[in-house]
Symmetry: C2
Subunit: 446 residues, 2 copies
């Protein structure tokens, strides 16, 4: 006999998936209302669903223009879905998972809390509230700055509305914009460049790193996870800017740009590729070298437990460290004088293998479903990686998707946002505690 | 004081690299001779070097046509280089490494001999001779079959010469042909399809699997390594044929083909992608879906210790098994009732990460060096993966390479043939024995 209580007993990953699906369903219904559409006529079920998935998964890939095709009501719904799927998931999803994990066994604690294992349940909730307040304050401050910046061209009311919308998008690493060319008008604008990028970089660092920074206030005393995330993010940001700047010099499409515009553009595109999704330079006008490079950056993405996607900087760092260790015939993977558990490395491997498998599979399918005779391969690969990494940048495939192509991309965003590990654990969850005990410092994967 | 004996003390991987470089140098000098060229004028240093590297690395990518640009003398040199770099490396390289490994410590034995650890030194040499004889017999038998097949169209003398050349190429998984359109004239020919593919499939299985099959003569008693190689190869061959057959149905370029030609073509292209390099259907006339799929097959490649390239079927199998194990929250990676050592999984990880890194880096470089303004991305990626996996198939980039592009591709072939692990061990070799002992059954990686 199965008791009703038992059948409703979800594991934390199952709760997360359940929550995402509920938000997507409600979002779809609301976005399909005639009131949500700019012309008063429903945008239709499939496109409403696509936009809801893209919003809840904080991707920003769009089959319709948030600015042109939706009413203010529709735009507010998108904004709320993004805030729930990004900041909401970051603060509540992770907190609940940690708390439930404390009750339910080692597994989720290993997965989620390298820096929080000394906290009481009450302490964690207080911390979550602190992060939530911090995030909302950051969004508010940025909104004020952007209101001032845009007041002269848009007027105060519209400037404030645009500022709020894009601040929410930025912190949540969702690439929707109300402009019809993203941020391309502001390629050399320090205010727009800095305010947006600070938000999406902070949002992408993840709950645990923010908690760690908040508590320790000293770089040296940070956890291994935080150190790896911060160092990897910095290297990718600087290295990526440098590469895009150099290649950009050879691009005829950049001819009219000043040196400062080139520098801002290289910085912004390097930062946005790792999951924010805004752009100040048209991606399809870039040279192929830069486009392919951005695919790699998108694939790596932001960091675990944040509003960004990709395999994550921490996963990437573990893969690199494990590879170097094997090449040196070393006996343990280590960084910053800490050993990294083999289980962590195995998770990194599982994440990268399954992510590659999904991207390859989805790309193969789309090369068949989307105009099999006239496929522009790089465009397809770019948009698939963008969807999986919830980056939101596009080379143009997304706006021309067939219905089946939309379904493939929606599932790709969903799988990419939740991560292969979360999905796998949701499907295979058993309540058995781990048989192994780990003395090492832990790094998050996935 | 350093004794002269000490300075000449190479580790096994260093000997392998040294041997490859010597063969390449001698090959380059001979191929650059006016006598090696079809028109009596030297083909030039750089192209001679490229062809020598491609031959010794059993790739088959060609900046010149072996049939049209080289004399019979030049073609025989290519044939000898291929035989040395393929069969020679397979038999002598591996044997020497095992023998030296027995003397020098655990490391190379772990790397090289899952099935040979019960052999005495004399036993290994006898086995190597057996494999050598088996390979030469297979080449000879195939040469006789192809001589008969081609005698009517080429005459007996030329048929015999062509048959020998292509048999040597096939066993060594080197894709050079004397025809100007590879094997496209024989798309539906069972004799050519079967005789060549049996050779390159057997050559690609690797020394250890052949030894194992030769000794055990029973599928069930094979080592874990052999089972993984055989099962993975079979799945890839059948699955690959199926995919290419289905997608081929939608390709207007296949319109004139009969069903049997379609089936042979799907089988042959599926088999050849995993490192042989011949083709019976023009790769550039395929649909993008098939081209991308072939890139994936090339990347996986053949098996460790054979004449093929890629990350290897065994590495691929380990990655898949480790990923599934992690998804299931399993405590050990296993297959066929055998546990797989974590060190093996770590090696697989190092191979796939470094291979991806090399391919991404080389592709990025070539998108810059080869006509930065007009890059056909898929063509570049295809030829880079083909070079790294020593597959030898081309979508056209190779024949149009700039001098710097040729250098990038040559280094890519060299790194791909020797494998990242061999190169890394050559650079970091220390004579310290491993501190860990492994009770599990081993699987080769690299
Ligand atoms: K995004
Ligand atoms: K080959």
């Amino acid at each position: 006999m199965i008791s009703p209580r038992k059948t409703l007993h979800f594991s934390p990953p199952q709760w997360v998936i359940f929550g995402f699906i509920i938000f997507i369903i409600i979002g779809t219904i609301l976005l399909a209302l005639p009131q949500a559409s700019a012309d008063g006529e429903s945008v239709g079920f499939l496109d409403a669903l696509f936009m809801a998935v893209s919003a809840v998964c904080v991707t920003g890939l769009a089959v319709l223009e948030p600015g042109g095709d939706f009413s203010a009501f529709g735009q507010v719904i998108i904004m709320v879905l993004v805030q729930l799927g990004g900041l909401g998931f970051m603060v509540f999803g992770v907190t609940v998972a940690i708390l439930v994990g404390k009750v339910m066994g080692m597994k989720y604690r290993l997965l989620l809390q390298p820096t929080t294992n000394t906290f009481s349940a009450r302490g964690i909730i207080r911390l979550a509230m602190t992060i939530l307040l911090l995030a909302l304050s950051l969004e508010a401050i940025t909104a004020i700055i952007l209101t001032i910046r845009w007041s002269s061209e848009l007027g105060w009311a519209e400037a404030a509305y645009f500022a709020l919308f894009h601040s929410v998008m930025a912190f949540n690493n969702a690439g929707f914009t109300l402009f019809d060319n993203s941020m391309e008008n502001y390629i050399g604008d320090p205010v727009v460049n800095l305010s947006l990028s600070v938000l999406f970089i902070v949002g992408g660092l993840g709950f645990m790193v923010l908690v760690d920074l908040f508590r320790k206030r000293s770089l040296r005393r940070l956890s291994l996870h935080s150190k790896l995330v911060l160092v990897t993010s910095a290297i990718l940001l600087v290295g990526g800017s440098f590469f895009l700047f150099i290649v950009g010099l050879f691009n005829p499409a950049t001819e009219g740009l000043s040196l400062s515009e080139r520098l801002w553009s290289a910085y912004f595109q390097s930062a946005t590729a790792r999951s924010a999704g805004f752009n100040t330079f048209d991606i399809s006008s870039m040279l192929v070298a830069s486009q392919f490079f951005i695919i790699v950056l998108m694939f790596i993405g932001a960091s675990t437990g944040g509003t960004g996607g990709g395999i994550k900087t921490n996963t990437f760092a573990i893969l690199v460290l494990a590879t170097i260790n094997t090449f040196r015939s070393g006996h343990q993977v280590h960084a910053f004088h800490r050993k990294i558990a083999l289980e962590t490395v195995m998770r990194a491997l599982a994440v990268v293998v399954s992510s590659l498998a999904w991207i390859i599979g989805a790309t193969l399918l789309l090369t068949i479903t989307e105009d099999i005779y006239n496929v522009h391969f790089l465009t397809t690969l770019f948009d698939v990686v963008s969807a999986f990494s919830t980056a939101g940048l596009s080379m143009g495939l997304t706006e021309e998707l067939s219905p089946i192509g939309k379904v493939i991309m929606m599932i790709t965003m969903f799988v990419g946002r939740l991560g292969p590990l979360t999905l796998a654990y949701a499907l295979t969850y058993k309540q058995s505690p781990s048989k192994i005990s780990y003395p090492e410092d832990k790094v998050l994967i996935g």
